[in-house]
Symmetry: C2
DNA sequence: GAGCATGCGGACTGTCGGTCCGCTTCGATG
DNA sequence: CATCGAAGCGGACCGACAGTCCGCATGCTC
């Protein structure tokens, strides 16, 4: 990749973040993002392919720390801890992530409306949760339960829950659901 | 309402259903619905206000039998039965409804993307499920748990689950989740 | 059958995602 | 440093679509 391309890529991602932060998830058109990045629309599309691609990459970026934490031993999240603990810790982190990136979550959902289950970040999360549920071994459809659990972080639901009670309520409600599933 | 208005209203709803059945949820533009109904676009908008309004009414129509069943005593669904039984019966019915109306569910979701929690049909379902969970009385955030449970009927998730195992799997997975929540 | 509220239709508008292509810039090579 | 091809750029352009508007038609009431 040429150096100007790299620079533009970064500019676009930062512009998108800034618009999400300042305007919320609605009314973020790609024209606007391109303009804010000081870049032509063609450039945006060459880099990211589509609206979907842009928000997927943005989410992947924001989720990368968590993705790493999942795989490195030494915390409650990582391999080595009992599955129950890992799951609860993971969900807590996800709640934090959702709180800090509600607008991004919303925009991402909107952009991935078709093929919601083909987003790489979501797939990783889902595989992780499914594995943990299966490992903890209740007699449930683990794959399904994982989807249901991750559904808690649907942007609208999360916003609604946090509107009364903040992240604390989101975390504790999700933990309650997770415990019920594991029991 | 004038008689031609009533007739057109019906024609629009039937045309929308037919397009959903024949084309799936994507690419159903309101122009197309109006054309298929043999009606001008203005008529459609005067009747239903917006895309959202159209699909909300269509869903309400399809859900009306269930809405009635919920309130009339005499079946497992109705008042008089123990909350657990009522909940499971309700979810079974919802699964049937979802199976028969997958495309409508999808279109409805798309159309209600903003304000998903302001749809009257969803609100009724949610109130019902919340009440039943609260009545069965586990130490859970009933409102939240109801959203999570209803999330099972997200069109994409339902399709995905039914792709391997049909309604039977959807029903049993949802029942499993519901039992876990009530336990 | 006259008068009018109600309703009709479809041309029109503004917005947006995505494409296209002639021009520019980067950076490898000698 | 000069050359040159490949990589990248930008923004005019396109097609689709939700939603509006208004002059005309139609059903209803008296």
């Amino acid at each position: 990749m040429r150096s100007d391309a790299t620079r533009n890529r970064e500019a676009i991602l930062r512009a998108a973040e800034e618009l999400l932060a300042s305007q919320g998830a609605e009314h973020i058109s790609l024209d606007r993002v391109a303009a804010a990045a000081g870049v032509g629309k063609g450039t945006l599309f060459r880099r990211f392919g589509s609206r979907t691609g842009l928000f997927q990459e943005l989410l992947a970026e924001r989720a990368s720390a968590l993705a790493q934490a999942i795989e490195s031993p030494g915390s409650a999240l990582g391999p080595g801890s009992p599955p129950e603990e890992r799951l609860l810790a993971f969900l807590d982190e996800l709640a934090e992530l959702a709180e800090r990136n509600l607008a991004l979550f919303a925009a991402h959902e909107r952009a991935c409306a078709e093929d919601k289950y083909r987003d790489p970040t979501y797939l990783r999360w889902h595989a992780h949760v499914t594995a943990l549920i299966a490992e903890a071994g209740p007699g449930l459809d683990a794959e399904f339960a994982a989807h249901a659990l991750l559904g808690s972080f649907d942007a609208d639901l999360a916003r609604h829950v946090m509107a009364e009670g903040g992240v604390a309520r989101l975390k504790s409600s999700v933990r309650g659901l997770a415990r019920a599933i594991l029991a």
